[in-house]
């Protein structure tokens, strides 16, 4: 299996073999972070630009560390007041970064499809670090990597994703990645937070938390993004915790060694209790650590990919 893609835009596009290649590559990079000198020269002389249109600490820092451990030069552009307001188009921003001879743009954007659009217009690599409600491929990859590390396989696992599925890019990427690798995925949320026709993506839908936990080998607990609830569609925080919050009591009825994941940042006492977040089933901090290896793998692989170069020269 040879990697050919210049971009990583989502897991929906990837084959099972490509997913496995990323995971295997991440596996080989993981050891770098435990060395005394945490660096390999794989991307020496390459420039990675983190272009973030949404506030993010965890993902941006993780990408920055990943790039630096590969010996790349890293530039961070945080556009918290979006460039839209300054008048520059996303494509113009991208072509300018390309003209600066950067090699990879890692982009977080509040609009679904922004990474795909940018990638279409650039010859350099684009890695999607989260676009709107669409995909967050590296988050799902690190979730899957962690699961595989813990349970030795993905094929045949029962994984439940709990929370605001409708507005979650993490959920979508996890669904694509997990189902392609043979896991059985259940999504669980109140009806208003389940998007239409999602069962056609190959998942089972439930509105009952106990049902979602009952046979699960792992549970991925999504962050309730109350700050994004502009439509008043969300249940209230306490109400949500009562109905869907992952507590020790609920967990006691699940498999004893169920894996508990969360993409962070945590809302303790909203979607997950502190007891569970810090408990023996939780792998939340291991996910963070694994994020580095996964992102190293992605940055390394896309730097090798040369497909679909933009038709016109820039």
């Amino acid at each position: 299996m040879v990697w050919t893609r210049k971009d990583l835009l989502g897991l929906e596009d990837l084959s099972k073999e490509e997913l496995e290649l990323i995971l295997a590559t991440a596996d080989s990079f993981k050891e770098v972070s435990s060395r005394e000198i945490k660096k390999v020269p794989a991307l020496r002389g390459k420039t990675v630009v983190n272009l973030f249109y949404e506030p993010s600490t965890r993902t941006r820092v993780s990408f920055e560390i990943a790039a630096k451990r590969l010996s790349a030069d890293v530039i961070n552009i945080a556009t918290e007041t979006s460039s839209v307001q300054k008048g520059e188009t996303l494509i113009d921003t991208g072509t300018n970064i390309q003209a600066l001879k950067a090699d990879i743009i890692v982009m977080r954007h509040n609009y679904s499809g922004a990474a795909a659009m940018l990638a279409r217009h650039l010859n350099i690599s684009v890695v999607n670090a989260g676009d709107g409600w669409h995909e967050h491929p590296t988050q799902a990859l690190l979730d899957i990597f962690t699961l595989k590390e813990k349970l030795g396989r993905i094929d045949g696992l029962k994984v439940s994703i709990i929370g605001d599925i409708a507005h979650s890019r993490v959920a979508r990427s996890n669904i694509w990645g997990l189902t392609k690798l043979g896991a059985e995925v259940t999504v669980c949320a109140p009806p208003m937070l389940i998007p239409p026709a999602i069962e056609q993506m190959g998942v089972v839908v439930t509105h009952g938390i106990d049902e979602a936990l009952q046979h699960a080998d792992a549970v991925n607990v999504l962050r309730m993004q109350f700050e994004r609830d502009t439509e008043g569609a969300f249940p209230r925080q306490l109400e949500y915790f009562k109905s869907f919050g992952i507590t020790q009591e609920r967990l006691s009825k699940a498999k004893k060694d169920i894996i508990v994941m969360h993409p962070g940042p945590l809302n303790r006492g909203v979607e997950i209790s502190s007891e569970v977040a810090d408990g023996i089933n939780s792998v939340i901090l291991e996910q963070v650590t694994n994020g580095i290896a996964v992102r190293m793998a992605v940055l390394f692989l896309v730097s090798q990919g040369h497909d679909k170069k933009y038709e016109t020269t820039n």
Partner: protein, 426 residues
């Protein structure tokens, strides 16, 4: 001036003609339709193997003038029309300012008289500024030549106001065209609601937002006894509602656009903003329903909903990009490829949708090739295959859903008002 079109397959369903014959044009009228016309002419077009049909009457075009001349002008839009075989078009009133008073309508008429290359008819707004609050003065608009009313781009939300508009329109003998959309249901949506909106992580536009309003508009028209025309029908449920209304004798007609019988929502999966339009591309089942409705005559008209937008408004994030696509130059070829080729429509059926029915609905003495009628004709090569590219589009905007697509059937000549106004060179 004498022009002879020789030995083409003349498709003239208004006169029940579908035969290889000659057509003689003298000045701006059709002078003779007969086999083997032998006469001295100024110009002869050899049309063996070609289709000769009345010029297309496109009931749904946005020319953008006045106000957004960067997107399109009367001159550029009508140039595109001629290349697509469209000799008469109805210009939608959602310009800046809107065509909601006789002064603005007269201003546009003056621009048309000066710059139009094809026939341009005016639609006026139903309400002032298309805000759905206050009705326009219909008689004064009629007096300056407005032939239909539409708040296109918006629907009149108030049932009372819409009912009153329909009653007055009936009294004045003018057609109301409905952009049937309940924005309360489609709010902020950008693609069809369903698996596609879920996969893309975008807000959806339900079929319900369309068909509920179609249902309402028909009900009000029925109550008012007025004629009503439903624009850009995109889904099966709307088709079903229109079919039932026709059965019980409501004076309703309907149109669809080529993108609704060519593409499904899957075309949006790469976030191609040239696949973003309102109503959105729907499911395969909806596409099948549109084709059936064309076959059965439930949908009367194919119109382009030509909606030019600049690259600055399209080559941006999908959510922010404008709705709409250009279509004047591709509608005939799209219809040949998607309707004639698979046998959904024969040539007479297609000409009805493109010329005969629009003329009837708008009350025009066009869409016919009988002796004495206006010499607006198109000569089409039904076999010619071409790939749609930006360079072929003469509209100021290039936002076509068909870019890169290979289509069958191409306009060879367009004759407007007795003159050859377009002859294909490449």
């Amino acid at each position: 001036m004498r022009l002879l079109i020789k030995a083409g397959r003349v498709v003239d369903p208004a006169n029940k003609i579908d035969a290889v014959t000659d057509i003689l044009i003298e000045d701006n009228k059709i002078a003779l339709v007969d086999e083997q016309i032998k006469i001295d002419t100024d110009l002869t077009i050899e049309a063996q193997g070609k289709i000769v049909m009345p010029g297309i009457i496109d009931m749904h075009v946005h020319l953008r003038e006045p106000g957004r001349e960067d997107k399109e002008t009367v001159a550029s839009g009508t140039a595109a029309a001629l290349r697509g075989g469209v000799t008469t078009l109805l210009a939608m009133p959602n310009t800046t300012p809107a065509i909601d008073n006789p002064q603005t309508a007269a201003l546009l008429k003056e621009i048309i008289n000066r710059t139009a290359q094809a026939g341009v008819l005016l639609a006026g707004a139903i309400t002032k500024d298309r805000l759905g609050k206050e009705l326009v003065d219909i008689p004064s608009l009629k007096k300056v030549g407005v032939v239909a009313l539409s708040d296109d781009g918006s629907s009149v939300d108030s049932d009372e106001l819409m009912f009153m508009a329909l009653k007055r329109a009936k009294r004045e003998g003018i057609l109301i065209i409905c952009h049937s959309e309940d924005k309360g249901l489609s709010a902020q949506g950008v693609v069809n609601l369903g698996l596609t909106s879920t996969r893309l992580g975008l807000r959806g536009i339900s079929c319900e937002s369309e068909y509920k309003r179609v249902e309402r508009d028909i009900k009000l028209a029925e109550k008012a006894g007025a004629a009503v025309h439903i624009a850009h029908v995109s889904c099966r449920k709307s088709v079903d509602i229109i079919a039932k209304a026709k059965q019980r004798g409501v004076r309703v007609t309907a149109e669809t656009a080529p993108h609704y019988f060519t593409f499904t929502e899957e075309a949006v999966l790469g976030y191609d903003t040239n696949m973003k339009m309102n109503p959105p591309l729907r499911s395969l089942d909806d596409l099948a329903a549109i084709k059936e409705a064309l076959h059965e005559g439930i949908i009367d008209v194919i119109a382009s909903d030509h909606a030019p937008h600049t690259e600055n408004e399209k080559e941006i994030e999908f959510v922010r990009a404008e709705f709409g696509v250009v279509g004047l130059q591709t509608e005939l070829s799209a219809a040949v490829s998607e309707l004639i080729e698979p046998g959904i429509l024969g040539w007479p059926g297609l000409v009805e949708k493109l010329s005969v029915n629009p003329a009837r609905i708008l009350g025009l003495k066009k869409g016919s090739l009988c002796v004495g009628s206006d010499a607006d004709l198109v000569v089409v090569d039904p076999q010619r295959v071409w790939q749609v590219g930006k360079e072929a589009l003469v509209s100021r905007s290039k936002n076509s859903a068909f870019l890169g697509k290979v289509l069958k059937g191409r306009v060879e000549y367009t004759i407007y008002n007795g003159k050859v106004v377009y002859a294909r060179s490449a």
